[in-house]
């Protein structure tokens, strides 16, 4: 029974997805949009319910599955993302030709994979849950199957994703071969008791696993898919990639590196730091010439992966907490941006940045929401993104007190902040400084309005009153034995 307690959220969402599918198969509902709202509302209730679940110290299912504060933090994050993405999908449903309810159900099944990822404590479960997420995303990315960009996005994601999965499973084999275990705790104990450098076969396996995870979070050098897939995929799926899939990748990365591979941190530490710097620069420089907002956010998501890698590379408690905090606030910020984009593109039918001109006058709430989310992404106070970046920089500078080469990483991050402000303000300029050709007002439905207001209040609220989310992230990061 205790095992069932551990997976109750997963069961809840999966059951709800299957019920939706069955009901739609036997008695199709005419108002697909309403179904989406109901689904989103149900997930929102599940999110509230998740706060009643208490973390448990011992692992479940033979040490494979954990329900610790870290897992619960991510589960709540994924449920939040799913609820808002379902709301987006409902708004987006008129643009889906057929299989709208299947679209909702696939999103929910993908989220089930993410919920499992939050709890992963074993390489086997890691692979299974990762595939559950990735395979549903292949389908979702190419869901608008009569549109070439969407097909291209799905194909690209499929080919590169399959390759990355191959790497991961191959790496897991090497790790198992050299250590005889796939469990993170046992792996850490083994590595801890070993003296001297780990064998090269083990390091090879570790690098292959990191390749697979690098693909999930779109870090250099496995980042090329991100802009194309972000641009081509249906916008709710893009949002889910940016918020859910990215957070899932970081959840796994943190678990693998900090729970399993912490004793050999000297092997991967410098690598992660270099990748962080390269990813920050690639994402932020690549975003400068973009004029499609979804593509811009694709590059921006690479840049943010780089910032969060800074926190991972710092290997201290502050850094781990900072990454968790960053993911939490990043979810609200990005969801707000994508909500606004969906509402605007529903009226303008264009993702190009010039079509956002004069948005501040056409719809004050959409203009404000998009502007605030851009400024939060850029890290401007008093918005939540500011405190996220502040913490990541703090973690790196703390590390620099013992290893002064980390000042270089901080300097790269600082330069990138200025660069990013340039292109985020490019969107801001269109919204407020430029006049619209077609100045007709844009209507915003009530559920959409609620979603936007919730996200905006969260962005400003977290930015000024940082303490609740900060404490949640710190207690979640305490599961790792970091200093």
């Amino acid at each position: 029974m205790m095992s069932l307690y551990a997976v109750q959220l997963e069961c809840l969402v999966a059951t709800w997805a299957i019920i939706l599918l069955l009901v739609d198969a036997f008695s199709p509902m005419p108002n697909k949009r309403l179904v989406g709202y109901v689904a989103a509302g149900f997930v929102a209730v599940a999110l509230l319910y998740s706060f009643a679940i208490q973390p448990i110290d011992n692992p479940f299912f033979h040490g494979m599955f954990r329900l610790d504060p870290f897992a619960l933090y991510f589960k709540r994050l994924f449920l939040l993302a799913l609820a808002v993405v379902l709301l987006m999908a409902a708004e987006f449903s008129p643009r889906i030709e057929s299989g709208v309810v299947e679209f909702y159900a696939l999103l929910m099944l993908c989220a089930v994979g993410m919920l499992v990822i939050a709890s992963v404590n074993d390489f086997i479960l890691l692979f299974v849950s990762l595939e559950l997420v990735t395979i549903t995303l292949y389908v979702l990315a190419s869901y608008l199957r009569r549109q070439l960009p969407s097909l291209e996005a799905g194909t690209k994601y499929l080919i590169l994703g399959a390759l990355a999965s191959g790497f991961t499973v191959y790496g897991i084999a090497y790790i198992f071969g050299t250590t005889g275990t796939t469990n993170f705790d046992r792996l850490a104990d083994l590595l801890h008791s070993q003296t001297g450098a780990p064998s090269s076969a083990f390091v090879f396996g570790m690098l292959l696993v990191l390749t697979g995870l690098g693909f999930k979070i779109a870090s250099v050098p496995f980042q090329v898919w991100a802009p194309d897939v972000y641009q081509g995929a249906p916008t709710p799926v893009t949002a889910f990639l940016a918020v859910g899939s990215k957070a899932a990748g970081f959840a796994l990365l943190l678990r693998v590196l900090y729970a399993g591979l912490l004793p050999v941190s000297m092997v991967w530490n410098a690598l992660i730091a270099v990748l962080a710097g390269a990813t920050i620069l690639y994402g932020n420089l690549g975003a400068i010439p973009q004029h499609n907002i979804k593509r811009l956010l694709g590059y921006s998501s690479i840049g943010h992966a780089g910032y969060m890698l800074m926190g991972v590379a710092a290997v201290n408690a502050l850094g781990a907490g900072a990454v968790l905090f960053y993911l939490g606030q990043y979810a609200f910020t990005n969801l707000c941006a994508f909500l606004a984009i969906i509402a605007v593109t529903a009226a303008t039918r264009s993702d190009e940045i010039p079509s956002f001109s004069g948005l501040g006058k056409r719809s004050p709430i959409l203009g404000l929401a998009l502007f605030l989310s851009m400024m939060s992404l850029a890290g401007v106070p008093p918005l939540s993104g500011f405190f996220g970046k502040f913490q990541l920089f703090a973690a790196v500078i703390q590390r620099a007190q013992v290893d002064s080469s980390y000042y270089v990483l901080a300097a790269i991050g600082a330069v990138a902040v200025v660069i990013s402000l340039y292109f985020y303000l490019g969107v801001g300029r269109a919204i407020y400084l430029q006049e619209a050709e077609d100045a007709s007002p844009i209507n915003v439905s009530t559920p959409m309005r609620i979603g936007l207001i919730v996200c905006m209040v969260a962005m400003i609220g977290i930015g000024i009153f940082q303490r609740p989310l900060l404490q949640a992230s710190i207690s979640a990061a305490k599961v790792f034995s970091l200093k």
Partner: protein, 517 residues
């Protein structure tokens, strides 16, 4: 009494949030609320100034709200002589700026929200006693400025071939670049010193030499970007030229002083070893500020560019005063920050007054304006006299202090720098007198016959208030210098003699704290 300071700082921000919920179609009510917020803020500031204990050094009216215990960060406000002076400056300029904003007739709600947020960003930075909030408020002032310039600004086409969008983007990027550079230095101080509390850092912590040498240039150039230290000044005249009147007033008058304040409040007392190491370079850059920007101002034809470069040039005196590292020089710098702030705000508001009617601020196109707008003409002449450092104005007293401090410093470099700085006054007088003579005197041009002078009390009040402040401090500088000198002596200059070697025990405790902040 203690919460009054917090109220004075946060009131404009609270008003901005209230305005957010206001209907946009009632500009009179919106304006009234903005005037109320800045006016009450100013009154509270004056009350605090009247109650300021002139015999005590250290922070007064301290009010602390615990904020993030895991960082040891608290929302803590308090003022000493330096920040009290600058808080007064914010109070005067933001109130006059709000009064003058009656010329704005487009999207008033957004305008006042941004203006009020900007005000809190600036006064918060001056009054906070916590490193985290210092940076928080400092950064918070940047984006409102971007929108104020971008949405309500204007940049007449000229040789520079730039648009206001270019100007505002350049300004924002420069300010952010400076901010993040300063952030690295601030975080290095935090981890080496083990606390975010500025007062504790000033009195109980001595940082190791290596930390000081890394952090000082970060702070100096980071804050230098904002205070338009040569050669990072190019954003500033362009930004002022493009900004709406009130935003130019706030920016040239107050926002720019944040940079110099950061150096005086944080870089000098916390990093004395770094300060001694970098002071000579700062003095050289200050001379470039004074002479180079003065020379560029000589070639400008647009009123706002003339004053913009003039303000860059005046920042040079402030930097020179800081570089002297002695009580007289640094006190002079602080007083000049106040005097120049009021003077720059006055000049920009006067330019705004006639530009609003002429839609032309090209000096050779204007002629004999004083005949049509005598009140504005007289104010402008007074402002120019203040700016050129004539006795009787606050600028005179402060510039003399800077020169004395710089000469007193003693080294040849500073003697040369003093001579350059005195020569800079001649340059300033040249271009300012030329601009005033060209546009306000000389033959009257008929095309300006439609100009209307400031007649009502409401119109005249902001200009009169700023002039009165300049004259009061000019005739009785001790009203400010007493409190400035005391704070500069105890919390800045006395710290400059502390060296890391003689205080090893303190360094050790600092490091132990730093390991687990």
């Amino acid at each position: 009494m203690d919460t009054l300071l917090t109220i004075a700082v946060l009131l404009p921000l609270v008003a901005a949030f209230v305005l957010f919920l206001f209907p946009a179609n009632n500009p009179r009510a919106i304006r009234a609320l903005a005037l109320f917020a800045t006016g009450v803020s100013l009154l509270i500031t004056l009350t605090l100034f009247a109650n300021f204990d002139r015999t005590k050094s250290g922070y007064q009216f301290v009010h602390r709200i615990p904020w993030l215990p895991s960082y040891g960060c608290s929302l803590k406000f308090g003022v000493d002589g330096i920040s009290m002076t600058l808080l007064l400056l914010v109070g005067f300029v933001s109130f006059c700026g709000t009064m003058i904003s009656s010329e704005i007739h487009d999207r008033e709600k957004e305008y006042y929200i941004l203006f009020l947020a900007l005000t809190t960003g600036i006064s918060g930075t001056f009054c906070t006693m916590d490193l985290f909030f210092f940076y928080f408020f400092y950064e918070m002032a940047v984006i409102p400025m971007y929108l104020l310039i971008g949405m309500w600004g204007s940049l007449p086409p000229g040789k520079h071939g730039r648009t206001k969008e270019y100007a505002t983007m350049k300004l924002t990027l420069y300010l952010t670049a400076g901010a993040v550079l300063a952030l690295i230095g601030l975080l290095a101080i935090y981890f080496a010193g083990g606390t975010l509390d500025i007062e504790q850092l000033q009195h109980n912590v001595v940082l190791a030499r290596t930390t000081q040498h890394i952090a000082f240039p970060c702070l100096l150039f980071g804050f230098g970007f904002l205070a338009s230290l040569w050669p990072f000044h190019t954003w500033s005249p362009l930004g002022y030229a493009a900004a709406p009147t009130a935003a130019s007033m706030m920016h040239a008058g107050v926002l720019k002083k944040l940079g110099a304040y950061g150096i005086i409040r944080l870089a000098l007392p916390l990093l004395p070893d770094g300060a001694r190491h970098w002071a000579n370079l700062l003095a050289i850059l200050a001379c470039f500020n004074i002479l180079y920007a003065g020379w560029v101002a000589l070639t400008q034809r647009d009123w706002k560019f003339v004053i913009g470069y003039s303000s860059v040039s005046h920042m040079g005196y402030i930097f020179l005063g800081i570089a002297t590292l002695n009580v007289v020089g640094v006190s002079g710098a602080v007083l000049l920050m106040f005097a120049h702030g009021v003077m720059a705000a006055l000049t920009f508001s006067l330019i705004g007054f006639f530009y609003h009617q002429t839609h032309n601020r090209f000096v050779p196109d204007l002629s004999g304006l004083a005949r049509k707008i005598p009140f504005i003409g007289v104010c402008m002449v007074m402002a120019v006299m203040a700016s050129s450092g004539l006795p009787g104005f606050a600028n005179f007293a402060s510039e003399v202090l800077v020169f004395l401090g710089s000469w007193q410093q003693g080294s040849t470099l500073f003697h040369v720098a003093t001579i350059c700085a005195v020569w800079g006054i001649v340059v300033t007088a040249t271009y300012l007198l030329w601009a005033v003579r060209m546009s306000f005197f000389g033959p009257f041009d008929e095309k300006w016959s439609m100009l209307k002078d400031a007649v009502s009390f409401k119109q005249k009040f902001p200009y009169a208030l700023l002039l009165a402040v300049l004259l009061t401090v000019g005739f009785y500088p001790r009203v400010l210098t007493d409190i400035i000198k005391q704070s500069v002596a105890t919390s800045v200059v006395s710290r400059l003699s502390v060296s890391p070697e003689t205080n090893t025990a303190m360094v050790d405790t600092a490091y132990r704290n730093g390991a687990k902040p």
